[in-house]
């Protein structure tokens, strides 16, 4: 009997690791979004002075890790492990960032759920006593994703209304085993792959909503909690349509939905014309670093369930007409400071 596992899929971190610091680096469009002034660094253009977008994305990931470390006056050598992932083939941004950091590295692929997946794995390593301090990063870039998954960026195509805009941005967290002032990581719920037979790669929110539903439901049942035990249940990048669908599914099961939100909706303003909102590994990562963790630190939120959602398709699978397998991983974040 696994002692630290509760119910079907939820892990309890009784040593309570904490996110000591976090930093976010984004592109210009995100900088103009509603969270604009909360990001640590906003690049003036999507190329950020590099010779390719892939390089720009890699630099964003590296810079976010460096800034997060500097906030605690740490060096990369203070980290025991580095966990990172992105959307590109063979997760090259993460690999190249790890080359720079020069510490033991585990590459992750959870598509847009990567940040949540990284926090789950970091929690396990810290709880198990295998590490004192771990760095976690996730990144995405609109142009690298467009050219890999869809069309050349200069092709004049019209995006359907269900389409989401891949966030150009990266965020990193430093997670520590012993820390009394950070945001505490108390539980993780590891998701299952859910596939509801949706195959339209321009409709990822609808594909991912059932996965988010499954993880949220399992989490609440595992811990015997209610939606009201959280100040916020926030999904990664379901976007407007996916968020509506998730609420519909939750209502059907009798859950209240007024505390359910989505990072893909928060990251852009409606007038930025992204259609269904933001997506990509960077989406939930930068909203976590720039918004959620700050609110938790300030005590505005006491307890948040952060559910990263990922659509695990490739361009090949999509051409071959395969449906989209989706996953959602959740972590419970609790405030140490503020009220209560």
């Amino acid at each position: 009997m696994a002692q630290k596992k509760i119910g079907k899929q939820t892990l309890q971190f009784s040593s309570v690791p904490a996110i000591a610091s976090a930093a976010s680096v984004v592109g210009p469009m995100e900088g103009q979004g509603p969270l604009g002034r909360h990001y640590d660094l906003v690049f003036e253009d999507a190329l950020a002075g590099e010779k390719s977008w892939e390089n720009a994305e890699q630099k964003m990931m590296q810079y976010s890790m460096e800034i997060a470390l500097e906030k605690q006056s740490l060096l990369t050598s203070d980290l025991d492990f580095y966990l990172a992932g992105d959307l590109l083939n063979q997760i090259i941004c993460a690999n190249f960032t790890a080359r720079f950091l020069n510490i033991p590295f585990l590459g992750l692929y959870g598509a847009c759920s990567t940040m949540a997946e990284g926090l789950c794995v970091a929690g396990i390593l810290l709880e198990g006593g295998f590490a004192e301090r771990i760095g976690v990063s996730a990144s995405s870039h609109h142009d690298t994703a467009e050219r890999q998954f869809r069309f050349p960026t200069e092709l004049g195509v019209q995006r359907p209304m269900t389409a989401q805009w891949t966030v150009t941005g990266s965020a990193s967290c430093v997670v520590e085993r012993i820390n009394s002032s950070g945001v505490r990581l108390t539980h993780a719920t590891i998701g299952k792959i859910i596939d509801m037979g949706i195959s339209n790669a321009h409709d990822l929110g609808a594909a991912m909503a059932p996965a988010a539903m499954n993880t949220i439901k399992t989490h609440l049942e595992d811990l015997g909690r209610k939606v009201d035990d959280y100040d916020l249940i926030i999904t990664g990048d379901l976007g407007l349509l996916g968020n509506n669908l998730l609420k519909e599914l939750m209502k059907k099961e009798g859950y209240s939905t007024d505390k359910v939100s989505d990072c893909g909706i928060l990251v852009y303003a409606p007038e930025q014309d992204t259609h269904s909102g933001g997506s990509g590994c960077g989406c939930s990562a930068v909203v976590l670093a720039a918004h959620l963790l700050k609110r938790l630190q300030a005590g505005t939120y006491q307890r948040v369930f952060f559910v990263g959602t990922g659509a695990l398709l490739s361009q090949l699978s999509s051409f071959q007409g395969e449906t989209i397998p989706c996953i959602a991983h959740g972590v419970v974040l609790e405030s140490t400071g503020g009220g209560q």
Binding site: T153, G156, D203
Partner: protein, 216 residues
């Protein structure tokens, strides 16, 4: 568990599948687990069997795999209906009007250019070819300065269907893959989007030529 038993169960399940029965979540989990168990068993038998017996097991395994795919379909369909209902509506009227205006405008520009060449004394066919070349140049130039994709966002098919859109598809691919080098990037990718157009256009035109040849 024996082969007969499994065949029996498959037959029972076929009822469920044929009637598109919508199972409760727990019921569903049970059925899926059963399927998995049977599949594993049959696969194992198959791996150890030979000759006719093996073929027999292969057929049985395929049957189970088909059921594995089909059994969740009713749930999926219910969800897809909800998703379709909540999906934001395409702005069809606006898109259509913009496509009409922009597409019409590009063709009008084409007519102006062609009239100019005709007045300059070119024959009709040469004037047509020269017009195409100029329009291709315009499409390429607007793509190069980063304007054509903005136009396409608003105009949709209005900027796709004219020959400028064909130029856009070639130039955007060429530019996009420049960073992968001029051989494997630009050279190899130039016709990523436009390639199929030439392949099938040429193919059908050859068929037309052949038919014409034999009918003549």
């Amino acid at each position: 568990m024996h082969e007969e038993e499994i065949r029996q169960k498959i037959k029972q399940r076929e009822e469920l599948i044929a009637h598109q029965v919508l199972l409760e979540e727990q019921e569903m989990a049970k059925v899926q687990q059963e399927l998995q168990k049977e599949h594993q068993k049959v696969l194992y038998w198959e791996s150890r069997a030979t000759g006719e017996e093996k073929e027999n097991f292969t057929d049985l395994r395929r049957e189970i795999e088909r059921q594995q795919q089909r059994v969740a379909q009713p749930q999926q369909l219910v969800y897809q209906r909800i998703a379709l209902k909540l999906a934001p509506k395409q702005t069809v009227v606006k898109n259509t009007i913009m496509a009409f205006l922009v597409g019409g405008a590009i063709c009008t520009i084409g007519q102006v250019i062609k009239d100019f060449f005709l007045q300059g004394g070119l024959a009709d066919q040469e004037a047509g070819a020269a017009t195409s070349a100029i329009l291709v140049f315009l499409g390429a130039f607007l793509t190069g300065i980063g304007y054509y994709d903005e136009l396409g966002k608003v105009a949709g098919a209005g900027s796709l269907v004219p020959i400028t859109g064909f130029a856009n598809s070639i130039v955007s691919s060429a530019m996009e893959f420049k960073r992968e080098g001029f051989l494997y990037g630009v050279g190899a990718r130039l016709f990523t989007v436009a390639g199929p157009v030439l392949v099938y256009g040429t193919m059908v035109s050859i068929l037309v030529g052949l038919i014409y040849y034999f009918l003549k």
